[in-house]
C-alpha cells in the first residue's frame, strides 16, 4: 500500500470559505491545534464570489429594523419549515458578527454619517445588506483570511478530503489527497468541522464552481449523518444566458435592489401581475412606488422584482415558456432605464455595480449602463444539507462531527433570502468552531484504523487501475459528469413532476454503474481527470438525495415546485424530509415533524404579519 503522511490536530476544519475560516479562527482562540484543509488556494473558495451583501439587522439605514423583523423575514422566506432556533440565533447574532469583521479590517460602504451602509434585497423588509459595491464576498473572505493567518492555524491548501475516518461512533480523522503530488495524507483530529459549501455542480446551468460537488454532504452521509430538506435547491432568477460559454454566471440581485426591472420581449414589466397574496401588503403596485423604494423612501413598498427568488425564477420560466422571452431564451433585466430618473445614471451604475458592469462588458460585449441584460434562472444554492444541532452545529448522529455554512441545513427552510448566507456562515461558523473546540477539549483523540485508511486509498486509486488495464476504451469521468448534470437539469430542475423524477432515479442507477467503471490516465500529480472521477460519487449521492427528497414532498413550497402538486399543502408545512443511509446501504427517506415553535417566537411572527 502507498505510504502516507499523518498530521495531528485537535480540531480539523474542512473548507476555507467564510464558514470554515470563521470556525478555524474561533477554534484557534482556545489555543488548541487547529488544522484547515481546502481544495483550492486560500481565499479562492466560493465565498469570494458573493456579490450583493450580508444580511444583519444593524438598523443603520432604517431604524425600524431589529432581530425580530429579520427573524420573521427569514421564516416567511423559508415558508416556515426552517429550524426556528437557527433562524433566531442567526437574526440575533448577525449584527455582532458583521461589526467584528469591521474590527478585523473589513471596509464596508458607508452611510452619510459614516456607519456601515445597508441595501435592499429580496424578501428583507428593510435595507439590511451590509455590502462593498458588488464584491461583498471578496471583502468577507479576505478579511477572515488576513485575520486568520495570524492565529496559528495550520493551513493545508489544495487538499481534498475523500473519506471521514471513524473510531466507533465518532469521527477520528480524514483521508485526503494533495493535489500537487497526488499523495495521500491522514489528518487525525478529536473533532471535525465540515464547511464544504454546496452542490451546484449537479446541474448543467449553475453559478457554482467546480468545487461545488457536494463533498461535505456525501462525506457526512457516508459517515452516518442525516441530510435534511435536500429537495430545496435554489435557482437564482438572474444568471447570464448569452454567450453560451457564460451561461449560468450570476447577475447579482443587487441590480434589482438598485432599481433594475424585469421585462419581457414586449417590454412589459411582468412581475406586477405576479404578486402572491401573502406579499401584496408589502409590495408596490406601481413602478413609481417601486423606484421610490429603491431610492430609500421609507414609506414606499418594494417593487415586485424583489419578491423571493423562488417566485421570481418561476415567473421568468413562465414568461419564457409562454413565448414572451428574449431572443436567447431568457428575459430582460434593465438597469439602464434609471437614466430617466438620475442625471448621472451611468456613473452611479458603475459605482454601485462595478463587477456587473465589468462582467457584461468583458464577457458579453454589453454595456449595462445603456442596454438591458438578457438573463435566466441558474442553479445557485442548496438550502438542504447536513442536519445539525441549532446551538452547537454538531451533527445529530455522529459525535465529534460538526457542520456549518452552506453544507449544513436548517436556517433557510424552503428558500433562502439573499444575503442570509454570508451572515449564516459567520454566525454558525463561529459557533461550530467554538463547540468543536469544546468537544476536542472534553474528549481524547480517537484511533484511526489502518485497514480503513488503506481501503479508502485503494478505492480512490481504482480509476487509474482501470485506465491501465482496459486501455483507452473505458469511459472517462467528464462524460458521466456531463450526462448527470444534463439529466438533473431536465428532470429535477425548477419545475418537477413524479414521472420525470422516477426517470431520474432510474437514470441515476445507470450513472452509478458507469461511475464505477470510469478510467483515468496519466499521473497522480495535479490530475483533474482523476479528481473529477473521485467527485462523481459525491455528485451522485447528492443528486440522489435531491431526487428522493423531492419525490417525497408532494406539494409545492419555496424553491421546490411540482407541476403535479402545484399548491402548498399544510400537511407538509410542518415536516422536514430526513435522509439517512439504511442498513442495506440504500438511501432511507422519512418525513419528520418539526418541533413546535416556542411562544415568544410565535408572537414575533404574529406581530410581523
Amino acid at each position: 500500500m502507498a505510504d502516507y503522511q499523518t498530521h495531528e490536530h485537535d480540531v480539523l476544519i474542512i473548507g476555507a470559505g467564510g464558514a470554515g475560516l470563521r470556525a478555524a479562527i474561533e477554534a484557534s482562540r482556545t489555543g488548541l491545534k487547529v488544522g484547515l484543509v481546502c481544495k483550492s488556494l486560500l481565499g479562492k473558495a466560493h465565498t469570494v464570489m458573493a456579490e450583493g451583501g450580508i444580511a444583519a439587522a444593524l438598523a443603520n439605514v432604517d431604524d425600524r429594523d431589529n432581530w425580530r423583523v429579520h427573524f420573521a423575514d427569514t421564516m416567511r422566506g423559508g415558508q416556515y419549515v426552517n429550524n426556528w432556533r437557527m433562524a433566531e440565533i442567526h437574526a440575533k447574532e448577525a449584527p455582532d458578527r458583521v461589526r467584528e469583521l469591521e474590527s478585523w479590517g473589513a471596509v464596508f460602504d458607508r452611510t452619510p454619517d459614516g456607519r456601515i451602509l445597508q441595501r435592499n434585497f429580496g424578501g428583507h423588509r428593510y435595507p439590511r445588506l451590509a455590502h462593498v459595491g458588488d464584491r461583498t464576498g471578496l471583502e468577507l473572505i479576505r478579511t477572515l483570511q488576513d485575520h486568520g493567518i495570524h492565529q496559528g492555524i495550520d493551513v493545508h491548501m489544495e487538499h481534498t478530503v475523500v473519506t471521514l475516518l471513524k473510531s466507533g461512533d465518532r469521527v477520528s480523522g480524514v483521508l485526503a489527497y494533495e493535489r500537487e503530488r497526488g499523495r495521500f495524507k491522514v489528518f487525525k483530529a478529536r473533532s471535525i468541522v465540515l464547511a464544504t459549501g454546496g452542490i451546484g455542480r449537479a446541474y448543467k446551468i449553475t453559478s457554482n464552481s467546480w468545487e461545488y460537488t457536494g463533498d461535505g454532504h456525501a462525506l457526512a452521509y457516508d459517515a452516518g449523518a442525516e441530510l435534511i430538506d435536500m429537495e430545496f435547491v435554489q435557482f437564482h432568477p438572474t444568471g447570464m444566458i448569452w454567450p453560451p460559454s457564460v451561461m449560468g454566471i450570476l447577475v447579482t440581485e443587487g441590480v434589482r435592489g438598485e432599481g433594475g426591472i424585469l421585462t419581457n420581449k414586449d417590454g412589459t414589466r411582468f412581475m406586477f401581475g405576479q404578486i402572491p397574496d401573502n406579499y401584496k401588503a408589502q409590495t408596490a403596485d406601481n413602478p413609481e412606488e417601486g423606484w421610490r423604494y429603491c431610492q430609500g423612501d421609507k414609506d414606499a413598498r418594494r417593487p415586485p422584482e424583489l419578491l423571493t427568488r423562488d417566485h421570481v425564477a418561476r415567473c421568468i420560466v413562465k414568461e419564457i415558456k409562454e413565448g414572451r422571452g428574449s431572443p436567447h431564451g431568457g428575459v430582460y433585466l434593465d438597469i439602464a432605464w434609471i437614466k430617466e430618473k438620475l442625471p448621472n445614471a451611468a456613473e452611479h451604475i458603475k459605482r454601485k455595480l462595478p463587477s456587473m458592469y465589468h462582467q457584461f462588458k468583458q464577457l458579453a460585449d454589453i454595456d449595462i449602463t445603456t442596454e438591458a441584460m438578457e438573463i435566466g434562472p441558474t442553479t445557485h444554492y442548496v438550502m438542504g444539507g447536513i442536519r445539525v444541532d441549532a446551538d452547537t452545529q454538531m451533527t445529530t448522529t455522529v459525535p465529534g462531527l460538526f457542520a456549518c455554512g452552506e453544507c449544513a441545513s436548517g436556517i433557510n427552510g424552503a428558500n433562502r433570502l439573499g444575503g442570509n448566507s454570508l451572515s449564516d456562515i459567520i454566525v454558525f461558523g463561529k459557533r461550530a468552531g467554538e463547540y468543536a473546540a469544546k468537544f476536542a477539549q472534553e474528549h481524547d483523540a480517537g484511533s484511526v484504523d489502518q485497514a480503513e485508511v488503506e481501503e479508502a486509498a485503494r478505492r480512490a486509486l481504482e480509476p487509474f487501475e482501470r485506465g491501465a488495464k482496459e486501455g483507452s476504451s473505458a469511459e472517462g469521468p467528464y462524460k458521466v459528469q456531463y450526462d448527470l448534470q444534463e439529466m438533473m437539469q431536465d428532470l429535477v430542475g425548477i419545475v418537477r413532476r413524479e414521472d420525470e423524477m422516477q426517470r431520474a432515479l432510474e437514470g441515476l442507477g445507470k450513472l452509478w454503474e458507469r461511475a464505477k467503471r470510469v478510467a483515468v490516465h496519466g499521473h497522480r500529480e495535479y490530475n483533474p481527470g482523476w479528481h473529477t472521477a473521485i467527485d462523481l460519487k459525491n455528485l451522485l449521492t447528492v443528486s440522489e438525495a435531491v431526487t428522493r427528497s423531492a419525490l417525497q414532498r408532494k406539494e409545492s413550497r419555496g424553491a421546490h415546485f411540482r407541476d403535479d402538486f402545484e399548491a402548498k399543502d399544510p400537511a407538509f408545512g410542518s415536516v422536514n424530509t430526513v435522509l439517512r443511509r439504511g442498513a442495506d446501504g440504500g438511501m432511507d427517506v422519512r418525513l419528520e415533524t418539526i418541533p413546535e415553535m416556542p411562544e415568544h417566537l410565535k408572537e414575533v411572527i404574529k406581530e410581523m404579519q
Binding site: S40, L41, L42, G43, K44, A45, H46, V48, M49, D96, R99, E102, S103, W104, G105, V107, D109, R110, D113, G114, R115, V132, G133, R135, G137, L138, E139, R142, D146, H147, I149, H150, V155, M157, S209, W210, E211, W242, P243, P244, S245, V246, I249, L250, S355, Q359, Q362, L363, A364, G476, P477, Y478, V520, H521, H523, E525, Y526, N527, P528, G529
Partner: protein
C-alpha cells in the same frame, strides 16, 4: 464550425514542451473555455487552476500569447486566431505542472506583514465612523483578487528573482491598504524600507498594466508608500524627492 489551435505548455519542473491542440470555437468563448474543452476531450490530465470563471477569484492566471492575464476573462475574439494561441504558466513562480505554478511564496510573504490594528471603537456598540471619501482609496486596493499577475510581470521578481528581499506589487498594495486604512494604528514603514524592499521598485508600471482589477498599483499605492518612507527616513532628501515626483493626489 470554426476551429483554432492552442499551443499549451505541458510539463513539470523537470522539463516539458508546447503541445498543439485544435478545438472548436463558438461565439463568446474565453481562453479558459478552450482549455476546459481540450481537457474534457483530448487531455484529461491537463493541469490548470480555476474557480469562478468570472474574474472574481484570481485562480486562472497564465500567460496568453506572452501576456499575463486571467484565462477566464480573455475572450477569443480579442486574439488573432489565424495563428496558434500560446498558453503558458506564470514565470515568476516555480512550476508545478502544465499551467499550475507554486504560488505559496505569496502566502508566506503576506504572513510577514503586520496585521491590521484598529484604534478603539468610536461608539459603545463597538463600531466606528468612517466617511466614504476617506475609504475610496482603500477600497480600490481591497478589490485585489490575488491573481498574482502583477507579481508575475514585475521584473524585480521575474528577472532578478529578488523574492527574498522584495514583497512585490501585490503586497505593496496590501501594505498600502493597511497604511491608508482610516482606523489602522500600526506602523509598517521600517519594514517597508528594509524587509519589504519598496526601494527595489523603479516604477516601470508594468504591474498596473496587467492588473485585471484595474488597480492603479504604482501611482496610488507604491509611490505614496515610497514618499512615506522618504519622509520618515530621508528627511534631508525630502524636498528633492518631491521636486522629482510631484504629489498627484
Amino acid at each position: 464550425m470554426k476551429q483554432a489551435t492552442f499551443s499549451i505548455w505541458r510539463g513539470d519542473a523537470a522539463g516539458g514542451k508546447f503541445q498543439d491542440y485544435e478545438t472548436d470555437v463558438e461565439e463568446g468563448m474565453v481562453v479558459l473555455d478552450a482549455v476546459h474543452q481540450i481537457q474534457a476531450t483530448q487531455a484529461n490530465d491537463l493541469a490548470c487552476r480555476w474557480n469562478c470563471k468570472a474574474g472574481k477569484c484570481g485562480s486562472c492566471s497564465a500567460e496568453i500569447n506572452g501576456i499575463p492575464r486571467l484565462m477566464c476573462m480573455t475572450r477569443l475574439n480579442a486574439l488573432p486566431l489565424e495563428k496558434p494561441v500560446t498558453i503558458e504558466p506564470m514565470k515568476a513562480f516555480p512550476l508545478v505542472r502544465d499551467l499550475v505554478t507554486d504560488v505559496s511564496w505569496n502566502f508566506a510573504v503576506k504572513k510577514r506583514i503586520k496585521k491590521f490594528k484598529p484604534r478603539p471603537p468610536d461608539a459603545p456598540d463597538g463600531s466606528w465612523r468612517m466617511a466614504q471619501d476617506d475609504i475610496d482609496r482603500v477600497q480600490e486596493f481591497r478589490k485585489c483578487i490575488e491573481c498574482f499577475l502583477c507579481q508575475d510581470v514585475c521584473h524585480v521578481l521575474r528577472d532578478h528573482h529578488k523574492h527574498e528581499e522584495f514583497i512585490g506589487p501585490r503586497f505593496l498594495v496590501y501594505v498600502a491598504a493597511l497604511e491608508m486604512h482610516p482606523l489602522d494604528t500600526e506602523d509598517r514603514l521600517a519594514e517597508l524600507k528594509e524587509a519589504h524592499g519598496v526601494g527595489f521598485c523603479n516604477i516601470t508600471k508594468c504591474c498596473t498594466t496587467v492588473c485585471p482589477e484595474n488597480i492603479t498599483i504604482t501611482d496610488n499605492a507604491i509611490i505614496p508608500l515610497k514618499e512615506r518612507v522618504v519622509d520618515e527616513f530621508y528627511d534631508p532628501l525630502k524636498s528633492l524627492w518631491k521636486f522629482l515626483r510631484p504629489k498627484k493626489y
